[in-house]
Symmetry: C5
Subunit: 351 residues, 5 copies
Amino acid sequence: MKIIRQYSEKAGLPPGKVVFVGEQKLRESKIHIIQYNKTHVTESDVQTIDEAQSLVNKSSVTWIDIAGLHQVRLIEDIGKAFQIHPLVLEDIVHTSQRPKLEEFDDYIFFVLRMFYFHDKKIVDEQISIILGENHVFTFQERSGDIFDPMRERIRSKKFRITKQNSDYLAYSLIDAIVDNYFVILETLGERVESVENDLLLNPSTNILQEIHTLKREMISLRRSVWPLREVINKLDRTESALIKKPTRIYVRDVYDHTIQVIDAIENYRDIVSGMLDTYLSSLSNHMNEVMKTLTIIATIFIPLTFIVGVYGMNFEYMPELKWHWGYWGIWLIMVIIAIVMVFYFRKKKWL
Amino acid sequence: MKIIRQYSEKAGLPPGKVVFVGEQKLRESKIHIIQYNKTHVTESDVQTIDEAQSLVNKSSVTWIDIAGLHQVRLIEDIGKAFQIHPLVLEDIVHTSQRPKLEEFDDYIFFVLRMFYFHDKKIVDEQISIILGENHVFTFQERSGDIFDPMRERIRSKKFRITKQNSDYLAYSLIDAIVDNYFVILETLGERVESVENDLLLNPSTNILQEIHTLKREMISLRRSVWPLREVINKLDRTESALIKKPTRIYVRDVYDHTIQVIDAIENYRDIVSGMLDTYLSSLSNHMNEVMKTLTIIATIFIPLTFIVGVYGMNFEYMPELKWHWGYWGIWLIMVIIAIVMVFYFRKKKWL
Amino acid sequence: MKIIRQYSEKAGLPPGKVVFVGEQKLRESKIHIIQYNKTHVTESDVQTIDEAQSLVNKSSVTWIDIAGLHQVRLIEDIGKAFQIHPLVLEDIVHTSQRPKLEEFDDYIFFVLRMFYFHDKKIVDEQISIILGENHVFTFQERSGDIFDPMRERIRSKKFRITKQNSDYLAYSLIDAIVDNYFVILETLGERVESVENDLLLNPSTNILQEIHTLKREMISLRRSVWPLREVINKLDRTESALIKKPTRIYVRDVYDHTIQVIDAIENYRDIVSGMLDTYLSSLSNHMNEVMKTLTIIATIFIPLTFIVGVYGMNFEYMPELKWHWGYWGIWLIMVIIAIVMVFYFRKKKWL
Amino acid sequence: MKIIRQYSEKAGLPPGKVVFVGEQKLRESKIHIIQYNKTHVTESDVQTIDEAQSLVNKSSVTWIDIAGLHQVRLIEDIGKAFQIHPLVLEDIVHTSQRPKLEEFDDYIFFVLRMFYFHDKKIVDEQISIILGENHVFTFQERSGDIFDPMRERIRSKKFRITKQNSDYLAYSLIDAIVDNYFVILETLGERVESVENDLLLNPSTNILQEIHTLKREMISLRRSVWPLREVINKLDRTESALIKKPTRIYVRDVYDHTIQVIDAIENYRDIVSGMLDTYLSSLSNHMNEVMKTLTIIATIFIPLTFIVGVYGMNFEYMPELKWHWGYWGIWLIMVIIAIVMVFYFRKKKWL
Amino acid sequence: MKIIRQYSEKAGLPPGKVVFVGEQKLRESKIHIIQYNKTHVTESDVQTIDEAQSLVNKSSVTWIDIAGLHQVRLIEDIGKAFQIHPLVLEDIVHTSQRPKLEEFDDYIFFVLRMFYFHDKKIVDEQISIILGENHVFTFQERSGDIFDPMRERIRSKKFRITKQNSDYLAYSLIDAIVDNYFVILETLGERVESVENDLLLNPSTNILQEIHTLKREMISLRRSVWPLREVINKLDRTESALIKKPTRIYVRDVYDHTIQVIDAIENYRDIVSGMLDTYLSSLSNHMNEVMKTLTIIATIFIPLTFIVGVYGMNFEYMPELKWHWGYWGIWLIMVIIAIVMVFYFRKKKWL
């Protein structure tokens, strides 16, 4: 719904107009730069994009991380300095894109979505990546910590990443995002299990609400991961010279991970669907049990009540009423009727 | 149904016969012309198509907007003047086409559908576009305001559009129509949310009717948007020289928007399907509650009524009737039975 | 079922054996010939196929219409005279084929199905077309009137058809058949609407039967139209020299119409499925209402009946019975109980 | 289940090991040979495969029919004499293969399945065909009569088959098997119709069992026919020189028949699914009717029983009891109450 | 769930890091080597991978089997010695991969899954295979006995395997794993049949639980077998020189087996779905029967109880009470009412 409202507000604006659409999550945009090659690593925070531009060179990989997208001016400056297409800039600040990959002559543009839990609800955030020959841009809504382990690896200089080109950096960023999906899936899986236990022990009415919430979250997650699969598949098959051959095998690896995420989501969806069936048939079972109790009580006592009614009649000539053992005889008959009925119900497996 | 009736009326007519099929929405057809290039913009209303034809030239883009399609003669004149295929003319005035794209040697023909709300119902209207080398035709049933922001942009001369060819104009028209879908989706989304709230707070019978209405509207919307996706995909892959390379990236952008419209519709459909399930199981829950109440009242009082029946019998020899505490003793027994039953129901979680 | 029985009767016969399978609908086969070119039109009824063969020539289009397929000998003669493959002849007289297109070196063979209403039921009939260089064969089970408007157009010499080759004639025949589908769909649509109204106003049991009949008719219609779509698609993509370039755009037009027929059928199927849901949940609603009434009456009166039972007991010592206001007091208590219960049910929204 | 058990028994054996898997249906394997060309036909029964091998020559087509597959030695001899791949031999004697086609340099190997009724159940049997340049092998579990009409046609020398190559013989065999499917479908269709009638007239509980049996048989049939479609499609597109051009059109014909078989199965499946729905909603309808009866009886008599209970109370001061018309007045009141209720139920359409 | 937790623990680690993920199933890793060619077979257990490497030569096939994957060091040594890509090593020790095939210049890497029963539950284990020019690696979590029949065949020197290259060994390993699926399917099939019998004879509540367990196991099995199909299909179409032409036909054979496994799983899934329907409608039937009993008892006795209530009233003027045959007359009337009702129910088929 939110996405639609944002889009409908943009209707009528010219295409390529850079308008921030979303919720501002940082007070001020920050530009953080890490530059590395096999031998050295330097880090800096800069104020303007011109500083960043002057740093980029052919002998090292420059990772320019922009956190906070509401300062549209900054994004437009990047567009001018690095000759980025206006539609790309529009997509970067329009924070409700589906995952996608677009190839240009000098760069590849990715939109990805990151998930995290907020107030026990799954929320997502857009992360855009621009992969150039010697530099990589990342655009985040907040200065998240998801890329911190990567920064550590670069700083330590001990890992493969510092010996590779910018494409390996872009791959590593995507890999970090996909790895994060497993963290989300674990929490989701725990909730599925918890609902499943409740279902057996304590099938209350609001469990239905929870099942539907889970189902909807699965669907929303799935809707982000399926296009991601397409993105990575496209990246694997791209003919762009920006993606070097040794990186391709890593791309296939992250593709496998995406498939596993999809598999896990499908699996949870099956489980949740099964839970719905179980819930409905447990309701139906419960109803059956209630009905049976009613039937047994009613069918035993209705005939007996009729009998006692008979001897409550005030006819003048009713010979049984005069008999000495009449009262106890009636009791005997009623007990026999009750016992016969109980046996009948036992035989029918109703009791 | 309406579409089918219209088609069935046309059965037997020769193909390519230009017969207006639809509802007349304007008294008279209007021809509005905007002509622009990088340096100047001129606008005029003309009476005949010959005037329009004389205006078209190679140094500027001419946008000829025809509002009102019932004057079949005018459409036929356009066909002759601009050498448009008779089947295209037939499709223009037959206002219940599916979105489609047809390539000819000299022009590309688009049929699109625009949605708007009328009496709280979604209605749609056909918009046909013919893209030529230096001119663009638009055919609308009414003189809608959906293209007004675009006209403003052309007049202001400040935007990209005046620096581009006719293909960019055609793209901008399609973009405006797709953007308008988000406005419709927003309203639809609000109705979905409102029904969803009603469902939880006040599940009346006529909610089912509303859910079915929503479902059907989704289906009808979906039926128009899916072929639109095909249209734009075809436009992206076309080899026609009419679509210049710089425009293609914009076409991909509008393609992404179409995918997002489809995504939103699918999302709403899932929600609506879920609501149906919720409604049906809430009915079933309600039934259960009613049944339980009946069972509890009946199972408590049926045995008690039997007991009081017993002591209403008129046997001469019934020793209990003579006992001084007999009456109060029976009350005591009945209270105990009732309490035991209530405890039993509590234990069974029926109360 | 009928089709299957016919096929199972043919099991064991050699392939290519021309055996009429179907129901004879005309007493005698008729051969009607229309021959036309830009300048003249001639019509004749002939007795033997040799007469027809002698008429065919390169300077005009010859349309040979055969009505009635049970005279197998005639079909075999046509096969010999025009060198038609035995399997084609077999298919022509085996009147339960799926729509299909088969290309041969000298001719293209089409099987199409025409629908009409008979006794308020949809029945279908096979129409085979053989398109040759200068002639077109049509094979019908009955001398239907579906092609009459076309004959009129040819006779009047005013329409495009007389200026075109045999391929345009074949196209026109297919177009006439597809147009006829819209007539059928209109009737079907009216029945869907009528059932829909009944469903809301008067949901009787036999409506279920009607819904299932509609559903099955949709399925059978769909089963004929889907392969038709394939046929026309194949015709559009054929490399056969028999289909001239100007005709191809008309083929695409009829393809669009077929898509619209499919769309309409799918739409009706959705509506019919929705009706089934509505019907079942209206049943369930009805049941709920019945149950509620029972519960309310029972839960109000069961406790009251217990109370009056109490004072029907014959204990000697029952102080209340002696009280002067005892009787009216009990009435008061019972009225209060009833009112409290009614309020309780109101609060629970059961009343 | 049976298939799986057979496979699981084979687990651990080396691939290509010729082990008979299935049920022995003949006491002894028989080898029957028909050899024909345009001018003469000879038939013989031989004991060893060497005799058969010596008969094969280039000037005629040799059809070698092996009935009974349990004599593994014979199959191995054929493999050696005609250089058949061990995996093919393994498949021939493993009588639970899916239909398949495998092309080798010198021959094409088909596995097909034939259906027949046994004890009112559908059972199937594997028929393997090896098509060589001048000979065709058929391997059957029993000496079935399905190929008898073909043998007659060969003997009579009057039909197309004797003028054609071995590929036409193979086609004819496949055609005979597919034709036989229609015979099966007819019987199945009759059972579907019979269940359908029972459903309306006499919906007993065991009809559910029958519907499920039908459903499962459809599924098993479908599972054999879908791969058959693939087999014939593959045969149509094969580049093997063994399939001559004139035969290809016959292959397409048998392909059409297979599609018709699939169509018929899908049709029956739809009908059977519909029957399940009808059955369940007829159950639900029945339940509704039962409930209504209960409700009407109960809601009419419960209040009346309360009233008579009131005047069964033993209060000393109950003025109505003394009234002369009290008794008849109460009757009047009760009759009025009953009539009012009946009218109410009529209005509500419950009666 | 387990898989997801393992993945989420790995999030943040650099790609290609060899970390054992799974459950340690052996105390110590074992390296077993079999080396064979046409003439001789040698077997040995080695401690370090260097010993293994020195054994590999061009004149024989070396099968190096590693059981136990927790000794990450060993795996890394293999990687160095045989130049295996780090991502491959990572996949080998990460024991929750989907089946996959990856081609490298010098080797092909397979991940497969083996199923077995443990505590009546299906568990699975990862088996990785690396196929090189003259050697094959197998990596198992436990030293399973599934490959023992193959070892016997190699030792006996009598079978095809010793005359073939390493690709035939790899094929044989895959074939052994797929054959093992049939053993699993047999056990599963027996459980399906047992649940099916219980369903008819003894439909208790916990059968629903069993059906859901079966359903979930089917789904999990299916999820492993579908990618396996892709793996084998890819192997069939590979252009790698490692797969020789004669082996390809064997690959197609194992592909057919995989299809049969999938078929069997789909078949069981259909049966299990059918069982769910049967269970639910048997519940519903049961409910109907219970309801009918209640209705019959209640509708017979409620009117009778009313009648006896009437004559229990204490009106002074009730003429019937004085009649000599009043009491017996009332009995007669009540018996007649009861009989009429029973006949009515019989007619309605409720009894």
